[in-house]
Amino acid sequence: MDANLSRRQLLRAGGALALVAAVPACSSSGSGAGGPTPASATNGPEAPSLKALVDAGQLPPVADRLPANPLVVEPVDRIGPYGGTWRNGMVGAQPFRLDYSVAYENLVRWNRDWTEIIPNVAESFEASADVTQFTFVLREGLKWSDGQPFTADDIVFAYDDLVNNPDVMPEGLGMFRSGDAMATLEKVDDRTVRFTFAAPYALFLDAIANQPHNVLTRLPKHYLQQYHLALNPDADAAAQANDFSGWAEALQHAIGGEALWADVNLPRLHAWVPTTPISEASQMTFERNPFYWKVDPEGSQLPYLDGIEFGIVQDEQVLLLNTVQGEIDMIERVVTTTANKPVLAADRETGGYDFFDLIPDKINTCTILLNQNCKDEVKRAVFQNRDFRIGLSHAINRQEIIDAVFARQGEPWQPAALPDSPVYDEEFGRQYTEYDVDLARQHLDAAGLSETDGDGRRLGPDGSPIGIRILAPSDQKPELTDAMQLIKTHWAEVGVELSIQSEASEHRYEILDANDQEAHVWDGDGGLNPVTTPQYFMPSGGADNAFGVLWDRWYVSDGTDPAGLEPPVHVVEQRELYDQLRVEPDADRRVELMRQVLAISREQFHLIGVSTPLTGYGVVKNTFHNMLGETYFAANFPYPGVANPEQFFIQG
């Protein structure tokens, strides 16, 4: 790490530079007669449309709408003018797109460089030294989009009356659970709340910042209490009037987040509020929230954009056509596939748009997960043999796959943390990636598979040829199947027969759930941030990351689950290290613990990879400004919400 400056550090430095550069640009803006002039000097404190409403007496003045201490958002590039609509699109109803784009307003959030957790709805926050207590102070005068105050009571309602209320949520929510109990919440004063956990929970703030929309800041008490039986005796009737079967369902609908896009009347803290529900057939529109609580450095209330228009199309190709025709201002998902890139690139000039880069939080392009807990006990023993896995890895001609399947991008790599990550380990990534058939044969011989049949196939301990049936997705990530076709020939070369079982997602997950797979292939997450995304580096519960779920069951049940399987010592050691990490208050020490977890993963070499993940992209119009030129694409980094959409603007 010392010799080569990591990309993250570079980004951070670049960000600081851009900030410095932006300051003189802003101050000299008034005189710029040539290029497009930032309208900063003429912006004033609020949007003209809102000013008109204030003048007409329909809205309180901007000073009364903003909190006493509004959050100041530094623009990515420069200060923009008010106005304009962000045209985006989705295929059918895709609520998650709205979650990521509009709803990222949690108590705390990631900064744009993904290096630090910073205040957002909370003005400040504090964790106790033993990370069992977390205190959040809210902004004074913060208001919901309907003008009602947002206070500690809203958070108490969201947590005590909804999330932690067995009548509404029988099992609570996993993110508020530590030491096998739900946290308790205490209202310190009108602006301060404190969560207390039964056991230390170092990643609680991360858990809030990771979510596209956290429950604590989107459940307004004054609106939802109409559905709460303890607060409204007629709650059932109120719920039934809105097409719910009963009061609990109405509240679950709100807790799950579906209500955000189905109920336009639900007050919220977002920069834009919907004017039409997602059930509309052709588009969903948003307009600015007059009570939004963020300002730019000059004190102008955000957002700059008047609204958002999510066109709802029925077919992905239609959305692609719209994008190519320049009818989409910024789109971050769905059409931005590897296969569509040439199509989009060809029309960049006429469509008036360009690309931005997305660094994915993936560990690999193609991760092969041999099931260490395979139901076939002969194969289980073979798969658990480290020499077998090393032999298979050396047998893969990675360069051929990179050239043929991944457009010559990336380099041979095992499923390991990437250079941008704080726990980067080059040796982990490069071990056993060398294409060497002789070496592969030696390792397979050493694994006790030296006997072959007449066709050159290696025979297992039971005397029958060793074959691996690998589960691959048939309805997404087609490159995985392409890569496996090549690996099939590579492995046949060393006497291991591979058959590919392609299944659509639903059935695939059923197979994984039942632990019926011999092996499966996926890309895998956690290349940038293994600390919060460890599931591919140690056997743990889940679906796509499943390679030792029975070990996991044994471990989490302390050996009491009869379906579990006692894990080897190194797995227990990994899990115990990670349990320590979960309660470790010091971030640097957490990284150190993660290194130790990864050292075991490197030594054990459970997963076989092909190459470093490919950089993704998004499409942004040349007239659409303040989007980051490069950002991360990761489950725990809700993009593009993290880029502060409220400071996007359209000009030129």
């Binding site: 059918g92 109803a93 609520p95 998650f96 949520m169 029988p170 099992e171 609570g172 929510l173 996993g174 993110m175 659970r177 097409d243 719910f244 079967s245 369902e249 679950q252 609908h253 799950g256 579906e258 209500a259 896009w261 189905a262 004017t275 039409t276 529900p277 997602i278 059930s279 509309e280 057939a281 052709s282 588009q283 529109t285 228009e309 199309v313 029925q314 077919d315 190709q317 239609v318 056509l321 719209n322 025709q325 009818e327 939080d361 993936k362 997404q476 997602s505 639903e506 059935h507 997950y509 059923e510 997450d525 995304t533 599931q535 519960g541 679906a543 796509d544 990761a634 489950a635 725990n636």
Partner: protein
């Protein structure tokens, strides 16, 4: 006639019950359920799903319960006029369908009318003037229209409009009218967009109608009663309209009832390609994401409309054709 209708209505009850069971089973058949679809989507984004949340959802949607219990819960709701909730949209199924139904009806009815207006005169002409140049022309175009799949016509039309005219086809309204209240200008805008799906959807239907009408009329004009009528000096035009044409219309009457189910599920693929805000794509999306109650309800309603439509056709046929009426006795 009344007893006939009453008897048919009685038979409809068990039929509808059977349909509702089959509709429910069909949507249960594919592996997984809506939650697996949801998990798939989240996992594709790299999200880990909160197990407690998932358990809560399974409980709330009743997906963990035995199939017959789920069926009973669904049916008892329907009896009370409640089709249940769409998981994906988070709103009631009835409101989703109600939002899309008016435009679906406009589209289906105007397509049907356009088809008939074009097909009847041409079909009649090519029968009466068999093997004339006009007949050959209509036949050629007709076969082309029958042979080319509708969605391909839609794609071709979109491509040509985009590359040649730089005009984007799709949807039923221009952006500025999408959310506008109804006005004369909005109706005009609708008309300006409606012709494309009508053309696309109408080609195959028109071609088919022309062929059927031509064949039917040709069959009839050779029959002795026509010759007899002609021998008695009935003017040719009146002759054709009064006898062979009326007989030839029977196949249309017996299929007119199918318009009813088409209102809801007609032309799913074309509507998807052309991005029409109708019920067809709603059904397709619901089936894809295993949005159980939405898909099941649409299938059920379509089935009910088919049964009702068939009854209507039969009644109409009996009214119009004495042979059917008398043969029934």
């Amino acid at each position: 006639m009344l007893t006939f209708i009453a008897r048919r209505c009685l038979v409809m009850v068990p039929t509808l019950f059977a349909i509702s069971v089959v509709a429910f089973l069909i949507i249960q058949l594919p592996p997984g359920d809506y939650l697996t679809t949801m998990v798939t989507r989240l996992e594709a984004e790299g999200q880990q799903v909160d197990e407690a949340m998932l358990a809560g959802l399974r409980d709330r949607y009743g997906l963990g319960r035995p199939v017959h219990e789920q069926y009973l819960a669904w049916m008892s709701g329907i009896v009370h006029g409640d089709f249940g909730q769409s998981f994906e949209y988070g709103t009631s199924v009835s409101s989703l369908i109600a939002d899309r139904l008016p435009l679906s009806i406009v589209l289906t009815v105007s397509t049907l009318l356009a088809t008939w207006l074009i097909a009847f005169p041409i079909g009649l002409y090519s029968a009466v003037r068999q093997y004339s140049p006009g007949d050959y022309l209509a036949t050629t175009i007709g076969f082309l229209g029958l042979a080319v799949p509708n969605f391909l016509i839609a794609l071709g039309l979109m491509y040509v409009m985009h590359t040649v005219f730089g005009y984007s086809v799709g949807g039923l309204f221009s952006p500025e009218y999408r959310d506008a209240p109804w006005s004369l200008a909005k109706v005009g805008d609708l008309a300006a967009h409606l012709w494309i799906p009508i053309v696309v959807l109408g080609t195959a239907g028109t071609a088919g109608l022309i062929r059927i009408l031509r064949a039917n009329v040709l069959d009839e004009v050779r029959k002795p009663y026509v010759v007899a009528a002609r021998a008695r000096g009935v003017p040719e035009r009146r002759l054709v309209f009064k006898y062979p044409l009326r007989v030839a219309l029977n196949p249309f009457i017996s299929t007119v009832g199918w318009v009813l189910p088409a209102l809801l599920s007609g032309e799913v693929i074309v509507a998807s390609v052309l991005n029409l805000p109708t019920t067809g794509p709603l059904l397709l999306g619901a089936l894809r994401s295993q949005d159980m109650y939405l898909a099941g309800s649409i299938i059920l309603i379509v089935s009910v409309l088919t049964v009702v439509g068939t009854l209507l056709s039969d009644v109409l046929l009996a009214r119009l054709d004495p042979r059917v009426r008398l043969g029934h006795r």
